[in-house]
């Protein structure tokens, strides 16, 4: 192979170096901190309020949206190039050593191995090989038998050779995740739509400078409700009932589907998530009023609306709470009496203690409140997500494999001696050597016992 010109080789060595890996990882870690300390994606005005004169510098360095800035993406790009270069450079050698393992342990290989032992046996080389093979198959792995250059018998056995690829699986997994993210940002979108109870939407609102997105179907919100935990203001559930409508018809299986947080609705590649809610319009309060003369009237009004009474006075709803003490919902009413007095009064769902409204000439009761909500739905199309999950899965499996599985290899070389044969045993484990040392010693004892037994039977035969 002709030598590459120097600068190219230097560049290649730089991109393949582990030092670069460690440096980019630590740099990514250090720079990522900035975006957690500096609030992201605010307006220029907000940055000026926060940081004064430094705001310009901050925005010049793209620290207002740093995870999408050129320099952060460039650093991530360097990380990916390094990862790919490292893997491509090392993978062929690993592949070779796994697919074409050295079946014969020569001098150089033996010197590099840390686990070695020698056993003596009184039997012939062939007999030893025949006796040891099933034992190896049982206790370690099925051996391959070859004949060495000096006519010695070589047995080679290995297990978990795929463990060598754990690290490369994690590297591939990272590429999958990044590819999934890119696919998501190229072909996916996310949007937000709010639907008033009873209404149907057929398109998603436009994001800045773009046309609204046609859904291709209708989505109706039949109902929205919030429920609270008993006796507290802590929300228990936000629930929308949604119906999908195709060509004017409700779609079977997609009518009044309850959508709550953590249970989104999926339809035709889009996913709708319960995200927010609010009042579509001022609620309508239904009141029952008992006049001073004992006559009862019912009336309804929205907050701020003046409700005239027969005697010349009037009422106006000012405020509302869904839980007033333990009396249920209650409205704060401003009462304007016929003689021009302004009084606060409370209209509750339940009977109030008499002293509450003592000043008001009218006895008030709240019959019901008609609230019309809208539900706010996050809408996404995320075609890259399956690839991201595959990447995550491979990342976990790959790192587990890379750390906990060891590729173990064993070489037995059987040579004839004056009294029988000699078995030279050598082994290696590509990680967790202390644990392999135990395996190796046990295996050595078992092999020796097997040969010993062989010796005995051989002796008995002779006698």
């Amino acid at each position: 192979m002709p030598a590459k010109p120097r600068p190219l080789r230097i560049l290649r060595d730089f991109l393949c170096s582990l030092k670069l890996t460690v440096a980019t990882l630590l740099l990514l870690a250090a720079t990522s901190i900035l975006g957690t300390v500096i609030p992201q994606n605010l307006s220029s005005l907000q940055y000026r309020q926060h940081y004064g004169d430094k705001a310009q510098l901050l925005q010049g360095l793209h620290l207002d949206d740093m995870y999408h800035s050129v320099w952060f993406l460039a650093l991530s790009g360097l990380f990916v190039i390094n990862l790919v270069a490292c893997s491509l450079r090392r993978l062929p050698a690993v592949w070779r050593s796994v697919s074409r393992p050295p079946l014969v342990a020569d001098g150089a290989l033996l010197r590099s191995l840390s686990h070695k032992a020698t056993l003596q046996a009184a039997c012939s080389v062939d007999e030893a090989a025949i006796r040891l093979q099933p034992l190896l198959r049982r206790r370690f792995a099925g051996p391959r038998r070859t004949i060495g250059p000096e006519q010695e018998v070589c047995l080679f056995a290995e297990r978990r050779r795929y463990a060598r690829f754990g690290a490369y699986v994690t590297h591939l997994a990272i590429l999958f995740i990044i590819l999934g993210a890119l696919i998501g940002s190229w072909f996916g979108f996310d949007s937000f739509v709010s639907i008033v109870e009873g209404d149907t939407v057929t398109q998603l609102p436009a994001s800045e400078g773009q046309a609204p997105v046609e859904l291709g179907f209708g989505l109706r919100c039949d109902d929205f409700s919030v429920s609270y935990y008993e006796g507290s203001a802590r929300p228990r559930e936000y629930r929308s009932l949604l119906t999908v409508i195709e060509e004017g018809q409700e779609v079977a299986g997609y009518t009044r589907v309850p959508v709550v947080v953590n249970r989104p609705l999926q339809y035709r590649g889009l996913t709708f998530y319960q995200s927010s809610y609010g009042l579509a319009q001022m609620p309508l309060f239904h009141l029952q009023v008992r006049m001073p003369d004992g006559a009862e009237v019912q009336m309804a009004g929205r907050p701020g609306q003046l409700l005239p009474l027969a005697d010349g006075g009037s009422l106006q709803v000012v405020d509302y709470t869904p839980a007033f003490r333990d009396l249920g919902g209650a409205a704060l009413i401003e009462v304007l009496t016929a003689d021009g007095q302004r009084l606060p009064a409370i209209a509750a769902m339940q009977e109030l203690p008499v002293d509450e409204n003592h000043a008001s000439p009218y006895r008030l009761q709240l019959l019901r409140v008609d609230e019309r909500y809208y539900t706010g739905l996050q809408v996404t199309r995320a075609p890259g997500v399956p690839l991201v999950w595959l990447g995550c899965l491979l990342l976990v499996l790959g790192s587990l494999g890379a750390f906990s599985l060891a590729h173990q290899r064993l070489w037995l070389t059987i040579r004839p001696t004056a009294g029988g044969c000699e078995v030279q045993m050598a082994g290696s484990s590509h990680r967790n050597r202390p644990a392999f040392a135990g395996t190796f010693d046990r295996l050595g004892q078992e092999l020796a016992a097997e040969l010993e037994a062989n010796n005995h039977s051989a002796k008995e035969d002779r006698s």
Partner: protein, 281 residues
């Protein structure tokens, strides 16, 4: 007996265990080591029972608010301490390095004390975003990872202490601390346990976020800090493969990683704002 009392008991037992472990080191008494480890086991059993009891108690409360006790800062600190002891006991079963406990158990004890003194131990119902099975998977995997990193940090501190001592008094060899090589290997091992768990924790968090909010990654401070921690330990693991990054440097990197882990866990909730704000209560 209530879970709160059991938690107090576990904390007390851990304290006794810590004193015993310190005595093991001071008196250089190996037999005391077995007593100390039995004490840690007792504390762990009480601790586990207390978590189980708190789980049960939540189902006995009115209003059907029962849930896994992993939903707020108090419960997570308790689970963090439990995970630290669990990882330590597993390592002890396999390697029988008693002295390591003298450095690890204080982490768990500190977490327990902090939870008892500063935590709000009321059982509260789950807000809608937390009502998901992902809560259990996400929290358990993250904290097993954090706990392994805590053990790695403790071992690294041991490494630095032992390294400094043997530099000043080379003759002082039998101090019951494992050798520098063993400590270095233990540090590596702890991080090899923690890293897949952290990866799984980030993955389950992303899956849950995608399920609840429709986005698996939004560069929220908590997400970003978990990634920072991941970067640091990934750097640690790769640095091992290059020459000259074991020993002291690896110990410092492991400590740095755990400081980042602590910030990811507590600092983000207490100092920064974001999606994990319910963890701050």
């Amino acid at each position: 007996m209530s879970s709160a009392q059991l938690f107090n008991l576990a904390t007390a037992v851990y304290f006794v265990a810590m004193v015993l472990l310190a005595l093991v080191l001071l008196l250089r008494n190996r037999r005391l080591g077995s007593l100390a480890i039995v004490t840690v086991w007792c504390g762990f059993v009480a601790h586990s029972a207390a978590i189980g009891l708190r789980w049960l108690e939540s189902y006995r409360l009115p209003g059907a608010i029962g849930h896994v006790p992993l939903s707020n800062l108090y419960e997570s600190v308790i689970f963090f301490a439990w995970s630290i002891v669990l990882i330590y006991l597993i390592i002890d079963l396999r390697l029988r390095q008693r002295a390591v406990g003298a450095f690890v158990v204080p982490f768990a004890l500190l977490a327990m004390c902090w939870a008892q003194l500063r935590g709000n131990d009321a059982i509260e119902p789950l807000v809608p975003a937390l009502q998901s099975n992902w809560l259990t998977y996400h929290v358990v995997t993250c904290f097993l990872g954090y706990a392994a990193f805590a053990v790695g940090c403790a071992v690294s501190i041991m490494y630095l202490v032992k390294g400094a001592r043997s530099a000043s008094k080379p003759a002082d060899t039998d101090d019951l601390l494992p050798s520098l090589e063993v400590l270095d290997a233990l540090n590596y091992k702890a991080i090899m346990i923690g890293f897949p768990f952290l990866t799984l924790g980030i993955g389950t968090g992303a899956a849950w976020a995608n399920y609840a909010w429709g986005t698996y990654w939004s560069w929220d401070p908590k997400e970003t800090w978990s990634l920072i921690v991941w970067f640091i330990y990934a750097a640690f693991l790769h640095a091992r493969l290059t020459r000259g990054w074991s020993g002291r440097r690896a110990a410092w990197l492991s400590i740095l990683g755990f400081v980042a882990t602590l910030f990811c866990y507590l600092g983000v909730n207490l100092l920064l704002s974001g999606l994990h704000s319910y963890g701050g209560g």
